[in-house]
């Protein structure tokens, strides 16, 4: 009997177990999942929770509810992987041996990595994160009680989980205060370490106006050095200062600490893998899936979903000693909330940037790409049902794993346009 051990029972871990449970012979393989708790959170909902769209109980279900029967579920903290011995050590002293290991332990916001951010005088009092349930709930109350002033939405460092979420948050907050008839009392500043809110050419051409139209100020190229909790000010590496009344920050995102303790991670605890098949660059029986790997794609559930469709096929080939024949292209597909019941949709991969057009079918769509539409907002809301009922359980969803150019408008090549990095 061989053992497949999956570390993490989140979006990626749950999907991969459901796929492989069907594909692997139960007489040959046993599957075990380890996670520290039994709460599976619907993470896209955390963005909408502060605006009263959801109640917290709609966003949490039991992890083991989504695991097929016959799969062992161990609730424990992980101490480390010992890849030389093919063992995982748990904090409670237990040792689990494996034949194949899948690391799917995700990425986590780490406010402790920026001096002053998690200072108890300000953390979740005037500085908030929304990628955790307690953070999102605290922010909901802070927005409700906000009387006016400067709200700064801030990205600490890339990569972050669901990279468009801070922009969506800003659009939704703009709509929220407009609806409460107090928008003129609120100043918004969007602070990013990147050169702009949109960095891909087609996106910045089609969406660049979205911040101006909403009177949201942009502060690009801002790398925070520390936060002064007393004056409530963000201070950058080049000594720019941005004071705030309320800071909505996305802290540094890092992979799990056990990855660092195991010597398996890069400088942000992500596991270096082949970006086409997710096999560890160091060990032939370790894979990393979802946000836990270092692939240069968005850290998002849609990427994990497309990746795992291909991984499951590859894994069966691999354990039978055959070459892996499916190569992942970095496909991502995200609804972007833009406020007032509208949304945008983007579809892209490692090499093709988000383009305009219709999705998934040419002309009829129904979802327009890179354009505000009520359909896209409805798509986002419908996705919660799809997530709990189809996606996690590994059921069929009518979007192919590899990106398609159907219905998309290609960009015409421009000749002789040369700018330089000082712009």
């Amino acid at each position: 009997m061989k053992k497949l051990l999956v570390l993490g029972g989140g979006t990626a871990g749950t999907m991969v177990v459901n796929k492989l449970h069907k594909k692997l012979d139960a007489k040959e393989w046993s599957i075990t999942v380890v996670d520290k708790d039994n709460d599976h959170i619907y993470q896209p909902g955390l963005l909408l929770l502060p605006f009263g769209v959801y109640h917290p109980e709609e966003l949490v279900k039991k992890r083991d509810h989504f695991l097929p029967s016959g799969v062992e579920y161990i609730r424990a903290d992980i101490d480390r992987v010992n890849p030389e011995l093919n063992q995982v050590l748990l904090m409670d002293g237990r040792v689990i041996a494996y034949d194949q290991l899948v690391i799917a332990s995700g990425t986590t916001p780490r406010p402790d990595q920026t001096p002053g951010m998690d200072d108890p005088a300000v953390w979740r009092k005037s500085i908030f994160d929304f990628y955790t349930l307690p953070g999102s709930l605290a922010l909901r109350d802070a927005l409700k009680n906000f009387k006016g002033g400067r709200i700064v939405v801030h990205i600490t460092e890339m990569p972050i989980k669901c990279p468009v979420a801070p922009l969506e948050f800003t659009f939704l907050a703009d709509a929220y205060f407009t609806e409460r008839k107090m928008r003129e009392k609120v100043e918004f500043v969007y602070v990013t370490p990147l050169e702009g809110a949109f960095t891909k050419p087609v996106c910045s051409k089609h969406l660049g106006w979205m911040l101006d139209e909403r009177h949201i100020k942009l502060e690009p190229d801002f790398v925070v050095e520390h936060i002064d909790p007393e004056t409530r000010t963000l201070v950058s590496m080049d000594e720019r200062e941005i004071p705030f009344d309320l800071l909505v920050t996305v802290p540094v995102n890092m992979g799990a600490d056990f990855i660092a303790r195991s010597g398996l991670g890069d400088d942000l605890n992500y596991v270096p893998v082949d970006k086409g098949n997710f096999l560890s660059k160091k060990y032939p029986n370790i894979f990393a899936l979802g946000d836990a790997s270092d692939i240069p794609a968005s850290k998002a559930g849609s990427v994990a979903h497309f990746a795992i469709d291909l991984f499951a096929e590859n894994f069966v080939e691999y354990v039978h000693g055959r070459p892996m024949t499916h190569n992942f292209d970095g496909h991502a597909n995200c609804f972007i909330e833009s406020g007032n019941g509208k949304g945008l949709l983007i579809d892209f991969n490692y090499t093709v940037e988000p383009l305009t057009g219709m999705f998934p079918l040419p002309i009829v769509g129904p979802f327009p790409l890179l354009k505000e539409s009520r359909f896209n907002h409805m798509g986002k809301l419908a996705f919660r049902w799809i997530y709990w009922n189809l996606l996690l359980k590994g059921r069929w969803i009518p979007i192919p794993a590899l990106m398609s150019m159907k219905g998309k408008k290609k960009v015409e090549e421009k000749e002789g346009v040369v700018a330089n990095a000082s712009h």
Partner: protein, 104 residues
């Protein structure tokens, strides 16, 4: 994509002027690119540029500011002093590598 002449050599660049072919870069080109964005290259600049070139060869991605700090040994604050305002973008531009990635 356009082809332009830099330091007497034809090179492929993207619409923002970043070199798109790793092997077309050389130190003379770096000096010209640096001058275009008002940077006079010193040993401290070269240390970073050489690190970025070597690192790209093994990793296939432009090193982040964090990586230049932890692996290359130059603190982010110093990167800002050497390449004012936009260190990640300017370092990549001079080193002939793709600029750091965003999402949309």
């Amino acid at each position: 994509m356009p082809v332009i002449e830099v330091a007497g050599k034809q090179v492929n660049v993207n619409e923002e002027g970043f070199l798109t072919k790793y092997d077309e870069w050389n130190e003379e080109i770096a000096k010209v690119l640096a001058k275009q964005i008002d940077i006079e290259l010193t040993d401290a600049h070269w240390k970073i540029i050489k690190f970025l070139r070597e690192d790209f060869k093994t990793e296939g991605e432009t090193a982040t500011s964090r990586r230049v700090q932890t692996v290359g040994g130059v603190p982010v604050k110093d990167q800002f002093a050497l390449f004012p305002k936009k260190p990640a973008k300017k370092m990549a531009y001079i080193a002939g590598l793709p600029k750091p990635k965003g999402c949309v």
